[in-house]
């Protein structure tokens, strides 16, 4: 059946192509497929027939209208939060020369894309305070897993210490990915008073067999790891590598982890002009400090500057491909092929749009809102930050003093306000706690409304 997405599907064109091949039926091209496995029915997919564009649009609208967005910006956190996506980022990412192109294997015809990714690498390396950032992993969770695998290869050791304050889904992903390499993933306890990684527990578990220590800051509970520098120094005493996951939006205000001595940095570009997308796609950030062995073991694509063979012009191309699967096969540093180039370009556009001024101001705007939220919550006397004296950024783990967080989240949702996730999703013992996320999207009155409604709800819940 002819279709407008398949230009040669018209009968006369088909006939002409078949004439070149000396066949009468397209079926003849499949004469080597054993008859007994040839599908003897039509695929039952879609809606029984090809749909017109207006039919598919209507159907789609009916489906997505079953999704509910809260009337004031969402307060849901848990590693990703709703941020503003500037129109410029959307405009650039909808340039078809970017989004319909393949991996830039043919560099000369893809200079613009290559330069944009080179700029991403440069901007991100500066932000995180490292020498090199690759041209993206799938997202923050897989960047973390790849960082752990890389560290184990570099150090030729199997023990990995992972902070119990890190995002539980990141920890799960690290575990799944480390299974093949037979790594021993050991958790480092949380200090129950501060919500930070317990330094003495870390010291007791660090030893000569440790390949790396994985820390997230701000961590899953929204708490800034204030002893980050000490953690990194302790790690280095045992010839282990320090892997630090941080939120790029915090780095206008907080020091880049590479500048504090982290060997490997990871993160996720969600929020840097990249929407929530119900969890994906995003892009994973993976960077390393200046070290030959780390570079040799770095997974994923890397773009480098070079010059033309005639020597007179600057250009960009993919480099160090001998680390990658299409050349090294089972000895490659990773199996990654398709990555998240488009989101990486989006993050570069976002950083360029905000500049150093904007990024610092954005960090302060988020920090200020976080501070304001905590103050307002404490005023209610019904809720408080789970860790009272800690420093929070963007997300706050809130304790509802014995009231079921699941119930609170549901009741708020019924009144048009989204918070969460309730921490019981990950920690049974924290059944009266939930995360709340504030970003530049929240005006003072939004936070006021949240607190007022929350107060009201909490008074009604036992």
């Amino acid at each position: 059946m002819p279709h407008n997405w398949i230009p040669n599907s018209s009968p006369d064109i088909k006939k002409e192509l078949m004439r070149e091949l000396g066949i009468n039926e397209i079926q003849e091209l499949f004469n080597d497929v054993p008859t007994k496995i040839i599908l003897n029915k039509g695929l039952s997919v879609g809606f029984g027939k090809p749909l017109t564009e207006y039919e598919v649009r209507r159907l789609f609208n009916e489906l997505v209208s079953k999704n509910r967005l809260s009337s004031i910006p969402s307060f849901v956190g848990g590693g990703v939060c709703q941020h503003y996506v500037p129109s410029v980022v959307k405009a650039v990412l909808s340039r078809p020369e970017f989004y319909t192109s393949y991996t830039p294997y043919q560099a000369e015809i893809a200079q613009g894309l290559l330069q944009a990714i080179f700029e991403y690498q440069s901007l991100m390396a500066n932000l995180y305070g490292v020498k090199i950032v690759n041209a993206s992993m799938y997202n923050g969770s897989t960047a973390s897993a790849e960082a752990v695998l890389m560290a184990a290869r570099v150090k030729k050791k199997k023990k990995i210490l992972v902070s119990d304050c890190a995002h539980p889904e990141i920890v799960e992903v690290i575990k799944s990915w480390a299974f093949g390499a037979g790594l021993d993933i050991v958790k480092v306890r949380m200090d129950l008073k501060s919500g930070e990684t317990d330094l003495s527990d870390l010291r007791s578990k660090l030893d000569g067999s440790t390949a790396a220590v994985f820390i997230q800051t701000p961590n899953f509970f929204g708490v800034v790891e204030s002893a980050l520098k000490e953690i990194i120094e302790e790690t280095h005493k045992f010839d282990a590598l320090s892997i630090v996951y941080s939120n790029p939006l915090s780095l206008g205000v907080f020091e880049g982890p590479g500048n504090l001595g982290a060997d490997i940095v990871v993160g996720d570009v969600q929020g840097l002009g990249i929407s929530l997308n119900y969890g994906g796609p995003s892009a994973g950030i993976l960077g390393i400090n200046d070290d030959k062995e780390l570079l040799r073991q770095l997974p994923g694509r890397l773009i480098g500057a070079t010059r033309t063979l005639s020597g007179d012009e600057l250009g960009f191309t993919m480099i160090l491909q001998t680390r990658e699967q299409h050349i090294k096969r089972e000895k490659a540093t990773s199996n990654i092929t398709t990555n998240s180039s488009l989101e990486a370009v989006g993050a570069a556009v976002y950083l360029t749009l905000l500049g150093s001024q904007g990024l610092r101001k954005l960090g302060e705007a988020i920090l200020g809102r976080t501070h304001y939220l905590i103050k307002r919550l404490l005023d209610t006397g019904l809720a408080e930050p789970l860790f009272r004296d800690s420093h929070y950024f963007r997300e706050v783990s809130i304790k509802f003093q014995g009231r079921s967080a699941d119930q609170v989240v549901k009741l708020l949702s019924s009144r048009g306000i989204s918070i969460g996730p309730a921490l019981s999703k990950f920690y049974k013992e924290l059944s009266d706690c939930s995360l709340v996320c504030v970003t530049e999207l929240h005006a003072r009155r939004d936070i006021d409304v949240l607190v007022t409604v929350l107060e009201d709800v909490l008074r009604g819940v036992q």
């Binding site: 192509l17 520098k229 092929t337 360029t352």
Partner: protein, 505 residues
């Protein structure tokens, strides 16, 4: 047709302006609270090192990236016949609908009741992909094809482990397989056992038999294979693998050529991964994002990564109750936006998906037939066999006779406004061009491609240097890859580049 790509001497973003301008506006509403909070934070944690991000006005940013986009090339500009990449046209309706805020603004931890629409879409995609592959259930969590392979390999590992067969640690992979197959197997902890390709272009069955043992865990295969040839002995191969209590893994990168005609499940495969960004028209984004579903037969459903989407007759739910799950391979539920694009694509075509396969195969064989008339080109393996979605030609003779390599021919194609195919792959073909035109290419463009090859080959015999000095119509001439990769001149960021410049390199 002449072609001149845009050529802007566009500075690297750090050199765009010597001024610092007002950047994107951010409110000042909480500066007091921010400074109060900052007072309490330990000094060592506050950023003191330079943020080297230029401060530009909006118009400067927009022009910069638009100029860069003009020096790039995608399917919306012209044909991209990269083999095994299935660079088909990305319908605009898919793009527009997937950018709806009721998709892009959903938070993965929103209450399930609030996201019934997206869960229903995901549920339908799971169902449709099961039907298309002849499997029983799918997980949409793997963010790309290689991640899907990794999931498949982990499922195989855990399946054998649960049956007490930890000795099964060998994964068989054909030499001609995509590089990600052995890489994914190795990441899952398998020893990779290679088998050669027979002269007919199919898996060498005798070689397969000779490597089978009690340690065989599985076989990773793509069918049609990377030569574009259908493995006609697939049933025998499946039986051999299953007799050893091993599993059959299907690399779905090449599914486009058999959609609706023959299904991996019916060929005997137990696990399939799909690349939604290839077969189901989600765009490739300059390298990604993709989306890589994994589908399995009934006896392996419990091993899938969690969550998958279920339906209890009333509402859609994220199901975590798979008893033998390999766990999570990525956070959240997958790359939803490309999944939504593929939903719109499959919904739009429905039963016409079969047309996709038929025309992609017709187009491919048509181009192959035209190229086979040219001097210096040969078609190794599988003589007299039709190809499916792609074919692989060798320029070995051309290189011997003229000194013009497969790479030179590729660069000369660029000069004619055509993207080059995949080159030097699969490794079993010397001086290879792996060509896949897909069903979305017009006859006129396929003829143009054939004509371009003809002109280039002619030129190679008359004036090889003229081919070797291409490209000249792209925004830059041929690049020096040795300088790019040399440790002394390696420049993966602007800081490295600046340092090299200051050294006068």
């Amino acid at each position: 047709m002449t072609f001149r790509q845009a050529k802007w001497e566009e500075p690297v973003v750090f050199e765009l302006s010597s001024f610092s301008r007002q950047t994107f506006l951010i409110d000042d509403d909480f500066v007091n609270e921010a400074s109060e909070a900052l007072k309490r934070v330990p000094k060592s944690l506050i950023r003191s090192s330079e943020l080297k991000i230029p401060n530009l006005s909006e118009v400067e940013v927009v022009r910069h990236y638009n100029r860069l986009s003009q020096m790039s090339y995608g399917v919306d500009v012209g044909p991209v016949p990269l083999g095994s990449c299935t660079m088909k046209y990305n319908p605009k309706i898919c793009e527009e609908l997937a950018s709806d805020p009721r998709v892009t603004d959903l938070h993965p931890y929103q209450d399930e009741e609030e996201v019934q629409g997206i869960l229903e879409i995901m549920y339908l995609v799971q169902k449709w992909l099961s039907e298309i592959t002849g499997m029983d259930e799918c997980s949409l969590q793997p963010p790309a094809g290689a991640a899907g392979e990794f999931v498949g390999a982990l499922i195989i590992r855990k399946y054998h482990h649960d049956r007490g067969h930890d000795n099964k640690n060998e994964m068989i992979v054909p030499e001609a397989a995509h590089g990600s197959n052995p890489a994914s197997s190795a990441m899952a902890g398998f020893k990779v056992v290679k088998i050669p390709t027979a002269p007919n272009g199919e898996t060498d069955i005798e070689a397969l038999k000779s490597v089978l043992s009690d340690n065989t865990a599985g076989l990773m295969l793509t069918n049609p294979n990377t030569l574009g040839i259908f493995e006609s002995s697939i049933i025998e191969i499946s039986d051999l693998i299953h007799e050893r209590d091993a599993l059959m893994y299907y690399d779905g990168a090449n599914l486009n050529g058999i959609l609706g005609i023959v299904r991996p499940g019916d060929m005997g495969f137990d696990i399939v991964h799909l690349n939604l960004h290839k077969t189901f028209a989600a765009p490739h984004g300059g390298g990604g994002p993709g989306a890589g579903a994994v589908c399995v037969k009934r006896e392996l459903v419990e091993y899938l990564p969690v969550p998958i989407v279920g339906f209890d007759g009333r509402s859609y739910k994220l199901r975590y109750d798979l008893s033998r799950t390999i766990g999570r391979v990525s956070w959240f539920y997958g790359n939803i936006v490309p999944i939504v694009k593929s939903f719109v694509y499959i919904a739009s075509l429905g039963p016409a998906l079969r047309e996709v396969a038929e025309i992609s195969v017709l187009n491919t064989n048509y181009l192959m037939s035209k190229l086979m008339r040219l001097k210096g080109i040969s078609l190794p393996y599988g003589e007299g066999r039709w190809r499916k979605h792609e074919f692989v030609v060798s320029f070995e003779n051309l290189l011997k006779e003229t000194g013009v390599s497969a790479e030179d021919v590729a660069k000369a194609l660029l000069d004619r406004g055509l993207h080059a195919p995949t080159i030097y792959f699969p490794l079993i073909v010397k001086e290879a061009h792996m060509i896949e035109v897909t069903e979305t290419e017009t006859k006129e463009n396929i003829d143009r491609l054939a004509k371009a090859y003809e002109e280039i080959v002619d030129l190679a015999y008359k004036n090889p240097q003229a081919v070797k000095s291409t490209p000249t119509n792209t925004s830059v001439k041929r690049l020096d890859v040795l300088v790019a990769n040399h440790p002394k001149t390696l420049a993966p960021t602007y800081d490295y580049l600046e340092k090299l410049k200051s050294q006068g390199v």
